[in-house]
Symmetry: C2
Subunit: 371 residues, 2 copies
């Protein structure tokens, strides 16, 4: 039953959640996964220096975190060579996207994204009563021209693109993304989600001034920095928009441990480079494993690989479920034709051994279940 005190909007919201977590699946299965390769976490872990900083901060957790995340914000600003007034720190990109939607999308307001793109963004748009308009991927890439066209057509407040993208791992060069801005109406903001930028080739990163009022870019410590469980994301955008978050954000919402961990993680460039090498090795191994099973691994500029299972979404789903049943946590895209793929996060050599062992068996299971 719905609580009678909910607002009309709240009462209308679906009870579905963007993602079921692996712990939930493990509790249901009654056993732990052998390989945790479904949420694009970094199995290579955070920098040992970040871990040390977090261990040290634990005993200081009686103090609220710094409401301005001053040290972290300034470190991020220095790293990107922008003024700190352009930088917002938040509780992961998820938290930042929620507040961004809250700030810009009134009930009924139009928002544009790609069909099959980040579900949590859609969750926030729906949650604040916005209307989603979805554009198909084209050739396993998000389609910049179609996104802008749809934004113009619908009078959207926000248009979302991830580059490199999730769930396919593809990317556009930076110039293509930057060119979107020139066709964007003044009343529309580009949300450029660069969660996977740390893994991407340099040419994938657009050269956009932080003062550019047409775009907000999001980054995270959840992927390459290996701190998904610490909930630290940030945005770079125009000063007025960044300042507006102060009107709605949870000012003391960052944990002290996470603030200190992120500062240390950002400073350890060697670790980031090592992680990127580990990711490349895992991607190469995944391509081999896929090929050895007659499947194709799509090119990826991220820490995961979409593996084309060669048939339709029903078959790929059976492959995914069979891998999960055999203790390998993976996920898959939600819409056709992307859903001919399963999405596997890069892992350790041991994780890849488990994948090499289980994938042929999962393919057999799937072939049996889908005639």
């Amino acid at each position: 039953m719905t609580d009678p005190r909910l607002t009309r909007l709240a009462a209308s919201l679906p009870a579905t959640v963007p993602f079921v977590g692996p712990e939930t699946m493990e509790r249901e299965a009654g056993e732990a996964f052998r390989a945790r390769l479904g949420a694009n976490e970094s199995v290579f872990g955070p920098s040992p220096k970040a871990v040390a900083a977090m261990e040290k901060a634990a005993a200081e957790s009686w103090k609220y975190g710094d409401s301005l995340s001053h040290d972290l914000r300034h470190a991020i600003a220095a790293y990107h060579d922008v003024d700190p007034a352009h930088v917002l720190v938040g509780e992961g990109i998820d938290g930042i996207l929620g507040n961004l939607v809250r700030l810009t999308v009134a009930e009924g307001g139009a928002v544009v994204t790609s069909a099959g793109a980040y579900p949590t963004f859609n969750y926030h748009v729906t949650g604040f009563g916005g209307t989603l308009h979805k554009v198909p991927f084209r050739g396993d890439h998000e389609d910049p021209d179609a996104l802008v066209d749809k934004a113009v057509e619908t009078g959207a407040k926000l248009v979302y693109i991830s580059n490199p993208d999730n769930p396919m791992g593809s990317w556009h060069d930076g110039a293509t993304v930057a060119a979107m801005l020139d066709r964007l109406p003044d009343t529309c903001l580009l949300v450029l989600d660069e969660a996977y930028a740390d893994f991407a080739p340099e040419e994938a990163i657009p050269d956009i001034a932080p003062t550019d009022t047409r775009v907000i870019r999001t980054r995270t410590f959840s992927k390459a920095y290996g701190l998904a469980g610490a909930r630290v994301g940030y945005a770079i955008g125009p000063v007025d928009l960044i300042a507006a978050f102060d009107r709605v954000r949870n000012h003391f919402g960052m944990t002290r441990v996470s603030q200190d961990g992120a500062v240390a993680a950002l400073a350890d460039r060697d670790w980031l480079e090592k992680v990127c090498r580990d990711v490349e090795r895992s991607k190469a191994r995944m391509s081999e494993i896929a090929a050895g099973n007659g499947l194709r691994a799509l090119p990826s500029a991220t820490n995961f690989v979409a593996i084309d299972c060669g048939r339709d979404g029903g078959f790929a789903r059976e492959v995914m479920l069979a891998l999960i049943a055999r203790g390998v946590f993976v996920r898959m895209p939600g819409v056709s034709p992307l859903d001919r793929c399963i999405r596997i996060t890069c892992g350790t050599d041991g994780d890849m051994d488990v994948l090499a062992e289980t994938l042929p068996l999962a393919l057999e299971d799937a072939a049996r279940n889908v005639r």
Copy 2:
């Protein structure tokens, strides 16, 4: 300048923030506080067992936290002897209050609280476009009858009370709070903020069934458990209302370190008892210090003490500023006549020595500045 893409509501919001953090003040002053007694943190720290759990979890921070906070939620449910379906875990009471307001208050919706009560609750109400109706304290207590009267009069969706209360430290017996429910309209929810309940006498805690649909109670790990910087709060309420949070909350918003720290903190009852003894010793010492300076410490069922400075708000404000200038972080109530007091958090013996040293000097400063 306001970003032109903000919603009408967002553009109308004030740029003020509920609290300026002590780190911000330290950066402005160019030096660290000698005593940090302004935010009702627990200077006695978290349980060493909680610290150990957090240290252990740090290296596991590459994994997202459990989106259901299963272990923590079940531990809280067991502690309160309620079904876990009645328990919501969130990013501090602040985060929970924000989502509660979002779920229940549409633009223009009436909300009732006490003048001078928790500013962050008011911040959320304003932030979602609600209209605040404030009832005065009576005799340094929140006024249950007047709160309910105002809720009836305004058709409020929410009525907020803290028990024990912040900022005065006073409390009502549980029966008085429970009696509010009998006069509450069906369309109104009582928000019973029990952030300080762990310090309160047993008779201050109302006997209310978790199934009671008229009330949601909030608790926190930020006060007695000494984990303000870990951002863990929880609510106990009717199942339908608790479930509704799943429609809007940031599902992976809890950090893994905080989840594990809170589970360990909750289990260490000895530490909680020790902290409560430390708090009592500090309160006794603060009463002595106040009396030695011709001031009166109000009775407190919390981990802070409101000290009546014996004159008006302007004078108390000068005392507060003089303490801050002398390196003692304290705060004060925001409205008359509560603002004749300054509010000082319980501290270590060393903190109390600093207070004993600086308070007479601050009173001299204030007397000089206010003629």
